[in-house]
């Protein structure tokens, strides 16, 4: 059981971008959809295609990406999509339009309670799935396409303090060590008869039985911490601004991509607040296709 980073060097445009550019672009897409509350399918589809293009350009192997995509698909389609389809809540109030044609209805006899699926709710559910995927696809790419060794530098050059950037950098370095400690501890406990795979008893007993695994690793880490603090104090950490071994520099393509991200955000804000475009509505072609 070894921690393996998902990152692999690939000769792609996406990986040639500065990591800061990638974070800024992701933030622009999320803000463009959430701050002006965009639900217009024309804008949603445009942004979805933009995110999908990034995803395909990253050229991540299917065997690497299929598992997370499977879990995210379940979340998006079943939890969020079905919620939108059945309840129609969570979006703008126009989703619950009482005049929207009914597609399916199952009421408790003698009452007005039950399940009502309208055209409006169906369209909203589809929009909601596209909206989430537009934000999730660029986020999924990050661990696969950014070298774990440059997160600290990237955050430092995004104007984070030395402390925050160093915490990030150290965490990435400690992670494989602690994962290895966990494996060693598990093997040692198994040699003493500890059965990790077959935890018996009730729920509380099962959780308590994880203690022989968690406690030694956690306590050892606190001891390691004191040694690292001593080493950093001896090097006068925190007394003056630090220099960093790696230095990231924006290339023209980074300015172009950041400009594109900012333009997307500003366009969404201007469309929504300046021209009233971007709100939820059911297009006529969709209604006509379903009810004629």
């Amino acid at each position: 059981m070894l921690v393996t980073w998902k990152y692999r060097p690939r000769n792609t445009f996406i990986q040639s971008l500065d990591p800061r550019t990638r974070f800024i672009l992701l933030a622009c897409i999320i803000f463009a959809l959430t701050i002006p509350e965009i639900w217009d399918y024309r804008i949603l589809i445009s942004l979805f295609l933009f995110s999908l293009t990034q995803f395909l350009m990253a050229r991540i192997e299917w065997k690497d990406i299929r598992r997370p995509l499977f879990f995210i698909s379940i979340l998006v389609f079943f939890i969020i999509g079905l919620n939108g389809l059945l309840s129609g809540r969570g979006g703008p109030s126009s989703v619950a339009d009482p005049n929207s044609p009914i597609l399916f209805q199952a009421l408790i006899p003698g009452t007005t309670w039950g399940l009502t699926v309208t055209i409006s709710k169906l369209w909203f559910a589809m929009n909601q799935v596209i909206r989430i995927l537009s934000m999730a696809l660029p986020a999924i790419l990050i661990p696969y396409t950014i070298d774990p060794n440059i997160y600290g530098t990237a955050f430092k050059q995004l104007r984070a303090s030395d402390q925050v950037a160093f915490t990030m950098d150290l965490a990435f370095r400690f992670l494989p060590t602690f994962a290895r400690d966990l494996t060693i501890t598990m093997d040692a406990q198994r040699a003493r008869g500890y059965e990790m795979d077959k935890l018996k008893g009730g729920l509380i007993a099962k959780i308590r039985k994880l203690a022989p695994l968690i406690i030694p690793v956690t306590m050892q880490s606190t001891v390691t911490g004191e040694e690292v603090i001593d080493a950093m104090d001896l090097r006068a950490f925190g007394t003056a601004p630090r220099t960093w071994l790696k230095n990231l520099k924006y290339a023209p393509r980074d300015y172009f991509v950041i400009g594109l991200g900012v333009a997307i955000f500003i366009t969404c804000c201007v469309l929504k607040w300046g021209f009233g475009i971007g709100g939820f509505f059911v297009p006529d072609f969709f209604t006509n296709a379903l009810v004629g």
């Binding site: 992670l175 966990l182 935890l199 099962k206 690292v228």
Partner: protein, 182 residues
């Protein structure tokens, strides 16, 4: 054990923030291989007890960093990407119990352990509520789905784990700290 001011952000907080984050990430990832069965969609993450412990032992800054970065790391090594609102929610879950750090002077004392578990519960409530409610803006879900589908399972699962494992961690830490002499 706790002779630092609550909001100090020096070498100690940097190192323990990083260690807490790495542990939280590694344990979250490792326990994916040994899921604890539970009712409905409630899942148990034993790593949460470690996060709360780091908050209680080393303060709110350490809890915030350990939760935020640790959740990000756990998601990244599982290949799930980056979800800022859940990472920030986990950060709050570690930060709030850190507010009690100055009041915890004896990690073996029963009343102080109960106090730590209580603040841990508050942290879980604040952190998971933040993550669930922000999902309304990010995911477009409604309030009842946020509370029933997201917050309640996360809160119950994390609370059970914390109530069981945090006292054990605190008692073990008291022994380690006494041997270390600082």
């Amino acid at each position: 054990m706790n002779n630092n001011s609550t909001w100090e952000f020096g070498t100690r907080q940097v190192v323990y923030g990083a260690i807490g984050a790495a542990l939280y990430g590694a344990l979250s990832w490792a326990t994916n291989f040994f899921p604890l069965p539970a009712a409905g969609n409630i899942t148990f993450r034993p790593a949460v007890a470690v996060l709360i412990f780091f908050g209680v032992a080393y303060g709110p800054i350490v809890g915030l960093l350990a939760g935020f970065i640790g959740n990000t790391l756990g998601d990244m090594i599982s290949g799930f990407g980056f979800y800022w609102n859940w990472s920030l929610g986990n950060g709050l879950m570690g930060m709030v119990p850190g507010l009690v750090m100055a009041a915890i002077t004896d990690f073996k004392d029963r009343s102080q352990i109960i106090k730590a578990v209580g603040w841990g519960a508050l942290g879980i409530a604040v952190g998971m509520l933040f993550a669930s409610l922000t999902e309304m803006f990010v995911g477009g879900i409604d309030l009842s789905t946020a509370l029933v589908g997201y917050f309640t399972p996360a809160f119950i699962g994390n609370l059970v784990v914390t109530a069981i494992l945090l006292p054990i961690l605190m008692i073990a830490f008291a022994g380690v700290a006494a041997r270390r002499g600082r």
